[in-house]
Symmetry: C2
Subunit: 480 residues, 2 copies
């Protein structure tokens, strides 16, 4: 395989260029003609579909339903909750014309749908009978990016889901916020094999318009944090301006309590960064479009016939077990080329079958995550493969988990803090709770408070910055 076709830089030497090459060469995505926008190719979209199906099932089984909202929101509506509007205004795309006609109230392309959804909810909700209302929307959001495009991580339009729920009580709404964060964590850890730290955002970092924001954060190989999803408690901040009111069982009118939450395709960005290696993508089996690739190896026509026949038998057996399997019978490429090609595309497990294997009644399994080769006899194909896929999934998670643990350090001294941030670490450090300290640390080190972890131990050490008594330990890191 020529250098130009494979990945030409090492992950730990030029991480940014490595990332771009993996995205393009593994055919996950490509740049659209407009700056800031990308196109998802089938291989990339299939990962999104797996993730979507898995999350969608969990949301439906907990009483959520899907709906559809249009992409256009009138400016007058978007500006109804002023803090929210101020937060999004600088990055809104504006539609001013339809055909040759100018539009009166200009139309925003949805940066997020709170305002539109809640103007509808206020019409639909009249009584306690209408609650809870738990609707999720699979769509895209549009926020103009000025900085250079980075597929899945920095784009002006991105695939996501946004959930918007309404409840009769504060308690029920807060329970929903946590229950969604748990669903997110489970999805990311079990499907994408990426461990996350969950907790609250600081007031500075919360969603504009929320009472508070809960988040899950993951560490990337360069030590930077990536926000993997957020679940917001909106309190009555939107129900009041949007007049979402209901009559309770005593016939008394109340403002409702709300939540909103979302994850986006940046999860695919995390997947690429966390598991990939110098050869390209490494995909966890549960979201891999192809879980097993079979590469038949032969040097004569007579071998070819027998080996392809056996390969197809194996494909049949695995397909019946709902394993996503693909045979690569392209005659124009050598087995070696095919090995590299599927390694670059991150297929978790390769089956090789050549004349000698056939004679011995076995196949060779090659794992993508650790390159290990194992022989498996034909009889054991039906039952031996599932467990190996599970092992790969588990190994990827454990590896990422060890990395997170190793890179998260408890530090209480600011000098050590500064050099540790340069080294790309997550710092578990004491903080007084004052936004001024938060801002000062950001200014000096470039690190944000990513998350105030749930159940983090209260530290006896003083605030890392001002030395006043600390309120709690929080996780500092530079972020994406």
């Amino acid at each position: 395989m020529s250098k130009e076709i494979g990945i030409t830089v090492k992950k730990n030497e030029n991480f940014s260029e490595w990332y771009t090459q993996v995205v393009i060469k593994a055919e996950l995505a490509d740049y659209a003609p407009v700056k800031g926008l990308i196109v998802l190719r089938p291989y990339g979209y299939s990962i999104w579909e797996s993730l979507k199906d898995s999350l969608d099932e969990k949301l439906k089984s907990t009483g959520h339903q899907n709906g559809f909202l249009p992409v256009l929101i009138p400016e007058s509506l978007l500006s109804k909750e002023s803090e929210h509007f101020a937060g999004f205004n600088p990055e809104v795309f504006w539609v001013t014309h339809a055909g040759d006609s100018e539009i009166g109230d200009r139309l925003a392309l949805r940066p997020t749908s709170e305002t539109l959804a809640y103007s509808m909810y206020s019409k639909w909700i009249k009584s306690w009978r209408d609650l809870p209302l738990k609707i999720n929307f699979w769509n895209t959001a549009l926020r103009a990016e000025i900085k250079s495009t980075k597929p899945f991580l920095r784009t002006s339009e991105f695939l996501w889901q946004e959930g918007h729920t309404v409840h009769a009580t504060k308690e029920e709404a807060e329970k929903e916020v946590m229950s969604i964060l748990e669903i997110y964590k489970k999805t990311v850890e079990e499907e994408l094999a990426i461990p996350v730290i969950t907790g609250k955002k600081t007031d500075k970092e919360k969603f504009v318009g929320a009472v508070y924001t809960t988040t899950m954060e993951a560490i990337m190989p360069d030590g930077k944090a990536l926000q993997m999803g957020t679940s917001h408690f909106l309190g009555q901040n939107f129900s009041k301006p949007f007049e979402i009111k209901f009559l309770d069982k005593e016939n008394i009118e109340n403002f409702a309590w709300q939540t909103s939450w979302g994850v986006s395709w940046r999860l695919i960005g995390a997947l690429i960064m966390v598991h990939g290696d110098d050869k390209g993508l490494v995909l966890p089996p549960r979201v891999s479009p192809i879980q097993i690739v079979i590469v038949p190896i032969y040097y004569s026509e007579s071998d070819k016939e027998h080996i392809i026949k056996k390969s197809k038998e194996i494909e049949q057996i695995l397909s019946k077990k709902k394993i996503r399997v693909h045979i690569d019978i392209r005659d124009e490429f050598t087995p070696g080329y095919k090995f590299h090609d599927w390694e670059m595309k991150g297929v978790p497990l390769r089956i090789e079958i050549g004349p000698k294997d056939l004679a011995k009644g076995k196949i060779v399994l090659v794992r993508r995550d650790n390159q290990k080769k194992t022989d498996l006899s034909f009889e054991n194909v039906e039952n031996g493969i599932d467990s190996m896929l599970n092992e790969i999934q588990q190994n990827l998670f454990e590896r990422a988990k060890s990395f997170l643990v190793e890179k998260t350090q408890v530090i209480s001294d600011f000098e050590k803090f500064k050099s540790a941030i340069e080294d790309g670490l997550f710092l578990n450090s004491p903080w007084c709770g004052d936004q001024k300290c938060e801002e000062k640390i950001k200014e000096i080190t470039g690190a944000d408070i990513r998350v105030i972890p749930f159940n983090n131990k209260k530290s006896s050490e003083p605030c890392i910055s001002c030395k006043k008594p600390s309120k709690e330990n929080v996780i500092f890191a530079r972020g994406y």
Copy 2:
């Protein structure tokens, strides 16, 4: 149930008002704050999900894959195929600003994605190895509507899928066009229980930019035709301006052959119109969000306990069979109210169970399509329900099919033609093939040529308009 909650007009007295009431009161959709746009509520979106799942499965099993395209297309790209651009230009929404900054090349909101998709395809396709390329996109299209909003039928943004394929030969591309039309027909007839007539569009009615368009057309209760989906042969009309070229096995460069095709949520509009009645929606079981509603009937607390217990047993049995079942245990409504409510929402089958039924060891089944009541003993619940759901599905299709047959008449005389169009018929009439006659007929009667059916018998009668020898019989009707 009060008149205001139910449908207050009869379907055959005020069809348009009836339609709107059904959409709003059955909670399928609602009007968004911007004219021309609608929101889908969960009940309506669930129908779209069923339809989508069914079609998606068929497309994937025939080698299509899904992808994602951004909604923004630069004007310079949209205008690359001039005929295509001229067709869509008047209804394009234009983005001119991002935040406070003006955008240089203004951006169109996707009216359809040929231009964007093909600019990408030209980068991806180099050799015969890259063909065929068969990608489908589930997204929305935006086309500004000036006329009054009609949910699912006339909206400025609509949910749809658009498929875009590229082939090495003309023959293969034309085969794809037909194969997709067959998949569409199968989906609409089997899932939505709506019979269609398939064939070609005339040159006047074809997609702007296509060599020819194939279509499926259905008759609505008012005798108007609704275009249910189209599949276009694009020839090399786009591959030439967009330079989609490939090297064949002899290393010779060729322009590729293309198709595009789509169906939209207007299929839900058809569903409402074709099957609905004075009580509201009537949903075919295969796409109904709830296939069976169980209404327990009781007048004392002791009855209540036993009846709800039995109802839940039945729910369990049906759920295990993957039947979408719902028990209505709302205490605040009477059984009579519940019957009307679920009838309005079109649930195909109702199970009633009261104290006398319980004593006799049976339930009562009430069909939505024909109001027929049947008793079913507890032992037969497990096996007796499936077949009834199939019967309902079949009956809805047969009823719609009879209507189509009855309302399609062979007419060769223009005076009869004019009055038949007023009566709301599909007319199978001879046509010379001249666009001038097509336009003249449209001007006088308001009827278009909806479709040139495949294998329609050549008529010995002269053209209905000019009396010259006819080329073929075609279907005339007024359209939506």
